[in-house]
Amino acid sequence: MKAKNISKIWILCSLLFLQCSEDVLDKKDLGAISSDVIWNDPHLAEGFLNNVYLRALPGWDVNASRMTDDAQGPDALMYGEASPGSQTRYSGSYNAIKDINLLLRDVGTGSISLEDQDLMKAQALFFRAYLYFKLVSTYGGVPLVLEVKDQTDVTALQVPRNKTSECMAQILLDLDAAILDLPDSYDSSGYGRITKGAAMAFKGRVLLHYASEQFDPAQDKGRWQAAYDANSAARIYLESIGKGLHPDYAGLWFDEGAGNVEAIMVRNYSLDRPHNREAGCRPFITGTNGESFDKPTKQLVDAFPMKDGKAIDDPTSAYTYDPTTLWLDRDPRFEATIAWNGSVWPLNNPAPNRTSDLEWTFQQSAIEAGANDRITATSFNCRKAVDGTLEGGAASLSSPTDWIEIRFAEVLLNLAEAANEIDNSGVAYEVLTQIRSRAGIEAGGDNLYGLQAGMSQDQLRDAIMLERRLELVFEGKRSADLRRRRMYGTLIGMHRYGYEILKTAAFDALSPTAEILDDRKVLEAGVLDGSIDLNDPAVYNTYFSTRLRSLERFGSVDADGDAINYLDNYYFYDIPQDDLNKNPNLTQTNGWPGGSFDPLQ
């Protein structure tokens, strides 16, 4: 080849490449899609809405009970030691609200059908209300931001807090709009989405809170009337579409799907999207993790009435309470909720950790050495909503049990509470007896299920709050009730207790070997064949000795430790300093350093 030709080819080649240089920089993001695609495709737009669900829909809250007298769990808030900005809900909630506002603005910009648009908007509005209600419950009034703004004009974004009442009005506005467009139910693939019934029940809850002392220490009857009306409407509507109380109190958690008449607002879980509550509730001795989720206190154990609905210290009860065999003849919800040392609790955990269906919480009951600190400190475990059929054994046991955020029972109890406050004790009695009847409490001659007849408004209020505590125990509602009705005051100075159970020499003598496990197996065989009756206090005390133990910080069998000291300003928390720094027009909540915002307005 001649040199001249070669140089010609070279020049041609380079011209060719210069020609395509524009394409070199013309690249697309193959890992993402653009906004116009989103709002033209109903499936993708729904995906955007799904992401709102992901961030806003509540699930199993395993820590809520730590903030009550129901469960063990030292927490700085309980001792009045909240660190500044302890509630971090502020900025995260607004991130989700921004997405909701974006959806409300953009869902109509593409080719999505009006029907689909309305359905998506209604769900989005529900969650905007839901998120604002969480914010208002935490901090009091917050800036109401209802549209997406341009980030370049920062001063326009520096909006002050709206009054609590303004926020509440907006929440109700959004809920009413949502109720209008939400369906009674979805097709089978949409189960778990927000329905009209969920929105109505939630509206009832919102108004109940707003009528309570947290928002209204002066107690305006009008607010209670509004709460009554909303809950009553919810009840009537829900009953009209076939909702009601599930016949099986213990089993209602495992009846998943639209057939569960009691489930009003649900978050689905599956084995691929599981939660870990089960791992933290199952007893450590079964070989599962045994983290300290929902470990019932003595106070909770004592709060359950006897089988006839009367308190354990009520002399009029037909049953006698024995502090050793404290599980005998109790409200059936007791056994559905609490597992004690020696209780029968079938769990699908593998041998050798699992040796029978009997449960043990005494010290050194676990196979693992040095594991006493992982055995429940109260001597009780929570068995509510724990699905014993799931195969346990793995430390990280995953659970698919759905979370029911709103049960029909709550709607009824909300109604009862509001009714009592507007002097309609009839509805209150009607609800309480209905709840107690489903629980399996004996009706008694007066058909009052152990309730005292003719209670005053105050007595009835106490009875309703107790019923809420027991019926909705470990569902995260007690901590909300304590705040809402400003009842933490009644806990101040209290120490939560549990029991420390030790095995005795008689226990050690059950088997000739030195293995505790062998003694345990002999005991189990005896209990199961009836030769050892642990329901006989004398027999029980032969094998176990029980001591009261404080569950509080620095508490033990010998010392009470720190007492509960929930402070008054915790009813409306401080906005984190970081968020205050970002907005000069944002004022701090009253009761906190530099606070000037009155959440009661």
């Binding site: 080649c13 920089l25 920062v154 995953s398 293995e515």
Partner: protein
């Protein structure tokens, strides 16, 4: 031979007779001039060290004008008298003088002139000679590295380049080194501080660089200042690492084989207490806390005796294996007049401290260069690297490349009992069994990485214009990474224990402890693959010519494009049907057990590169270059960046006025450069200026059949104005040679200013907007420093040569522009300070006695709200909380977070240096190299500070000298005392060290033996790397490592190197 010598003696008999006759008269026959009379024709062949013939060598009879040149085959012929000196000279080779004897045949071997200033230096898009360099460049030739059995190129060159910080932070097989140039840092900003890697003129990546084998590399050059790096302007802000692979040479075929076998051991494993020692620590802690002597948790005498008699060692020790390190490299090169070639193949295998931990790498390269016509040269360079990393799986290793969490826990646990009992893995004492995990108990991860690259290079000398060249380079690169991840449910056995001894395991099986850490995926097989396909095309025109005798001009212009396409695919199936077949098909066929995912990406760059150089009489040099780069990382308006540079050099020793006065300086050059470079590795996504939505993530569960829904998530807010980070650099340097060029040295001073660094501003946007302000280009960091390189080479007699080298780099950085929150108090401010300062408490010491404690308590001193305790560390009270003490200088009697301050100047070493000593005595060579870091501090890692007072754990042995009522002068605070593990000056130590990085002792087998096996040279050698610390301020852990992962290894190896 003997006969021939005899024959020449016969010829000389008359002369000898004459000489003897004159002895009595002069007594000095040796300087008799009579021999000059014999003139003869001397002929022979001139070759280089490898035996290749050297054409064009000048041959001169010294003192005359008689001269000739060797022909193409290296042959020459010249007339000379006996006793004449023949001088052989050739550019780049050492001149050689040979006295003419009686022999008319003379074969000459010429050596490369390695100390010469005419050494060729690779710079971006070309080469120059060292003499003419105007910028700051360092080079290491890999010849002396070939015998180091390093698994990556970076590890082999560590410490040998001034101003280039190369640190190996862990010893897992196949681990690589971190490389930074001139203290490059991005501090709190997002941008990368990695240098740019260029291999054979093609922009590559660190992974490809690490994949190279030393045998295929000719040299590694680092461009440090903007003047040298600006031709790579786009991404050269953090320096450029250039690699040139070997090329063939015309002439005799040379085959070289290097083979080494070695083993490794960790340099420094933090020593841990035995169970017995730890039991003593625990008992002392219980005594202190008033636990009753009869408490059941107390150790019985039987237990203590048993623990004393049984020292199992930590789990790390129990599962340790003898690591092996093998390397074989074969190269062949040669060629004819028009074609030359280079071929290489190498294999490295390294196994690790644990049974399921290994690395191997196979490299091949073939390079052929052909003169297709007189003016046209085409070369093709093909290579592949394959490496395989086989590792045991443990979920909590995550992406932790040094197995830090695993290793530190394995090192801290296990001393209390055997990991294996009755052939079963034991679950007692600890919730895990690392011995089982290291044997692959929880599964296995195999990663392979394969690069296939081809470079075609065309160079054309335009015949009608002298000095004009055209060229094009095309590179096609395919990178593929595969991963097979097998995960298993781990089952360990809980054994019964003796009733009187909690540590004596019985044969009774109490239970099985199951770990399924990955939930439903704990029994699964996963296969993934990721592929990158890219090309780079470069077209160029160059011109170089000398006008008259004084003015030399060169210029070039390049156009370069680069595009890359990525694809990745991933599949997982659960439920392995049998452990013996780890293939996807042999898994649970149910649809709900199968998962797959995949995606892709594309990138592009276009660049115009140019340069202009001028020199006057080869003593004054002016060079300039520019690069104009477009990156798809930025929006169209911000896409293009222009990066120019200018540099000047002046060889003072070329000036008469200087050399006439100073004659001991053989060479002296001063040079200065200034330029800017950029960095487009900013922003978190590939298209940070476009609002995107991400789909494919998992939504919530909906429906009666509980299926996972889809989700669409809005991406980060776009930054329309995101653009290049920039660095402007100034460099001042000088090079000189003294003492007949035996001593040579270079000094460089640099001042780099990084601007437009990408980071978050302190401009607040209210949270209630739900928006977050993304980062912008605004920040600045300044880095200043200097470097020096000196070498001294000489010989003592003919048999002993030595070569001493020293290099040092110093770099100091500081924040120049950084937004700081208004709430930050003066002591917390970062601006004007170093980017890697260390924050912590100032320890005052240990509270050693009651009086001291009482005095502290009496003064109202509280630590974290509690009274101080005896034996604990106590800290200096520096200030109160921000509300009461806005200036941060008023102590409040309370030790809390407010009392932290910057107690260390740097966590990254500002000084790195290397010392080289090479000795050569007859057939022996000894090469030693030491690498050092200085000027930085390190905390003792957390595992050295852990104080777990429970059965199952051990502690660093330094805790044996902790404060106790019986040991009030202990070096450490009381074991378990509150707040004693805080980051404080107590645990902060100067981390300066100098490590003997490499020693290589070689012996050349005598020629008569070598020739019998048909070889040209056989060298046997013993090599040791990381042998010991010559000097280290830290003993408690290896200061180069994280102090938690698998420690850096010492390597001992033996090898042989054969040249045919």
């Amino acid at each position: 031979m003997h006969k021939k010598i005899g024959a020449s003696w016969v010829k000389m008999i008359p002369l000898l007779l004459l000489a003897f006759a004159s002895i009595s008269m002069t007594g000095n026959p040796l300087i008799d001039g009579e021999m000059e009379k014999v003139q003869q024709t001397i002929s022979g062949t001139i070759t280089d060290e490898t035996g290749s013939p050297l054409p064009g060598v000048n041959v001169l009879v010294v003192g005359t004008t008689i001269g000739t040149q060797s022909d193409f085959d290296g042959n020459f012929s010249i007339n000379a008298n006996q006793g004449d000196i023949l001088r052989f000279s050739y550019l780049g080779l050492k001149s050689k003088d040979v006295e003419v004897g009686s022999d008319t045949s003379l074969n000459v071997t010429m050596e490369e002139d390695v100390s010469s200033l005419d050494e060729v230096v690779v710079v971006g898009y070309g080469t120059t000679i060292k003499r003419e360099l105007t910028s700051s460049v360092v080079t290491v030739s890999t010849e002396e590295l070939n015998e180091i059995p390093a698994t990556s190129l970076g590890n082999a060159i560590a410490g040998r380049l001034a101003g280039v910080n190369i640190a190996q932070t862990n010893g897992k097989p196949g681990s690589t080194s971190q490389i930074t140039v001139r203290g490059a840092t991005s501090g709190q900003f997002a941008g990368s501080n990695e240098p740019l890697y260029v291999i054979d003129n093609v922009i590559a990546s660190k992974a490809i660089f690490d994949a190279l084998d030393v045998s295929e590399v000719a040299n590694v050059t680092v461009l440090k200042d903007a003047a040298s790096a600006a031709v790579y302007g786009a991404r050269a802000a953090n320096g450029v690492v250039l690699v040139n692979t070997h090329s063939g040479k015309s002439g005799k075929t040379v085959i070289n084989v290097t083979s080494t076998v070695g083993t490794t051991e960790p340099t420094n494993v933090p020593p841990m207490t035995t169970a017995y020692q730890q039991a003593g620590i625990i008992e002392a802690q219980r005594d202190f806390n008033g636990v009753p002597q009869d408490d059941p948790s107390r150790f019985s005498q039987a237990e203590l005796d048993y623990l004393r008699a049984n020292d199992w060692g930590s789990f790390a020790e129990q599962s340790a294996k003898d690591p092996l390190l093998n390397r074989v490299a074969i190269t062949a090169s040669g060629g004819s007049e028009k074609i030359n070639y280079f071929m290489s193949g190498s294999y490295v295998k390294q196994t690790g401290d644990f049974s399921k931990l290994s690395y191997n790498k196979t490299n091949f390269r073939a390079k052929v260069s052909a003169d297709i016509t007189e003016d046209l040269n085409v070369s093709i360079n093909m290579n592949t690297n394959n490496d395989v990393r086989d590792e045991f799986y443990w979920r909590w290793n995550g992406s932790d490349e040094d197995f830090g969490d695993f290793y530190r826990t394995a090192n801290r646990t296990g001393a209390w009992g055997p990991g294996v009992h009755n052939g079963e893995y034991v679950a007692n004492f600890n919730g895990w069994n690392p011995v089982h995990l290291a044997d692959g108990g929880a599964g296995n991860r195999e990663r392979t990485s394969r690069n296939i690259g081809t470079i075609i290079d065309v160079n054309y000398k335009v015949p009608f214009l002298d000095g004009l060249t055209l060229g094009a380079t095309y590179n096609k690169l395919n990178i593929r990474r595969d991963e097979t991840l097998l995960r298993k449910v781990t089952e360990d056995v809980t054994f019964g224990v003796d009733p009187n001894n909690r540590f004596l395991l019985t044969d009774e099986v109490l239970g099985i402890r199951v770990r399924s850490d990955d939930g439903a995926d704990s029994d699964s097989l996963e296969e993934s693959t990721a592929e990158e396909d890219s090309y780079q095309f470069n077209a160029r025109i160059g011109y170089e010519n000398t006008f008259g005798t004084d003015h030399t001009v060169n210029a070039f212009l390049n156009y370069e494009v680069w595009e890359r396409n990525d694809r990745n695919f991933w599949a997982r199936r659960r439920g392995l049907q049998t452990e013996f077949v780890t293939q996807l098909f042999a898994t649970d066929p149910a649809v709900e057990s199968q998962f797959a995912n995949g995606g892709g990406a594309e990138f592009g760059r276009a660049s115009y590169i140019g340069g202009l150089g001028y020199n006057y009489k080869e003593k004054i040099f002016i060079n300039s270059s520019f690069r104009y780069d477009g990156s798809t990382k930025f929006a169209e308006d911000e896409r293009w960046g222009f990066f120019p540079s200018l540099s000047l050099g002046w060889i003072v020793t070329e000036e008469e006025f200087f050399t006439s006065k100073v004659d001991f300086i053989n060479f002296f050059k001063v040079r200065a450069s200034f330029g800017t470079t950029g960095n487009d590795d900013v922003g978190s996504s590939n298209f940070p200026y476009i609002q995107s939505y991400n789909v494919g993530g998992l939504g919530p569960v909906f429906g009666e059949n509980e299926s996972i829904s889809n989700s669409a998530v809005i991406g980060a807010q776009p930054d329309l104005f995101i653009t290049w980070e920039k660095q402007s650099s100034f460099n001042l340097g000088m090079d000189f040679q003294l003492l007949k060029s035996r001593l040579s040295a270079s000094f460089d001073y640099f001042n780099n200013k990084k601007t437009d660094l990408y980071g978050s501003r302190q401009l607040f946007i209210p949270s209630s907007s739900g928006l977050t302000l993304g980062p912008t280009n605004y920040g600045g960091i300044n880095i200043k420093g200097f470097e020096m390189v000196t070498t001294y080479k000489d010989n003592i007699g003919d048999d002993f040569y030595y070569d001493i080298g020293f290099n040092l780099g110093y770099a100091k950085d500081e924040y120049a522009t950084l937004d700081e929150p208004e709430t930050r108090r003066p002591y917390e401010l970062l601006n004007g300070n170093g980017t890697s300062r260390i924050f912590g408490y100032t320890a005052e010491g240990i509270i050693r006695d009651q009086a001291q404690l009482d005095a502290l308590i009496a003064s109202g001193y509280k630590i974290n709200g509690a009274d101080p305790q005896i034996g604990a560390l106590y800290y200096r009270d520096l200030r109160g909380n921000p509300q009461d003490d806005p200036e941060g200088n008023t102590p409040d009697g309370v030790i809390d977070g407010n009392d932290q301050s910057y107690i260390g100047s740097a966590s990254t070493p500002p000084i790195n240096y290397g010392i080289r000593l090479n000795l050569n005595y007859k057939r022996f060579t000894l090469q030693t190299f030491a690498q050092g870091f200085a000027g930085h501090q390190r905390y003792q890692p957390a595992n050295n500070r852990f104080q777990f007072g429970d059965i199952g754990n051990s502690s660093h042995t330094q805790w044996l000298d902790a404060w106790s009522p019986d040991n009030v002068n202990g070096a450490l605070p009381r074991f378990g005392s509150p707040a004693s593990d805080w980051n404080s000056t107590f645990w902060l130590q100067d981390a300066d060290f100098l490590r003997l990085k490499n020693v290589n002792l070689g012996y050349d087998i005598p020629d008569n033996i070598v020739s019998k096996v048909g070889a040209e040279r056989i060298n046997i050698f013993a090599n040791g790397t990381n042998l010991f610390m010559i000097y280290s301020k830290i003993d408690e852990f290896d200061p180069e490592t994280s102090g938690r992962g698998i420690p850096v290894n010492k390597t001992y190896s033996l090898g042989i190197n054969v040249t045919f």
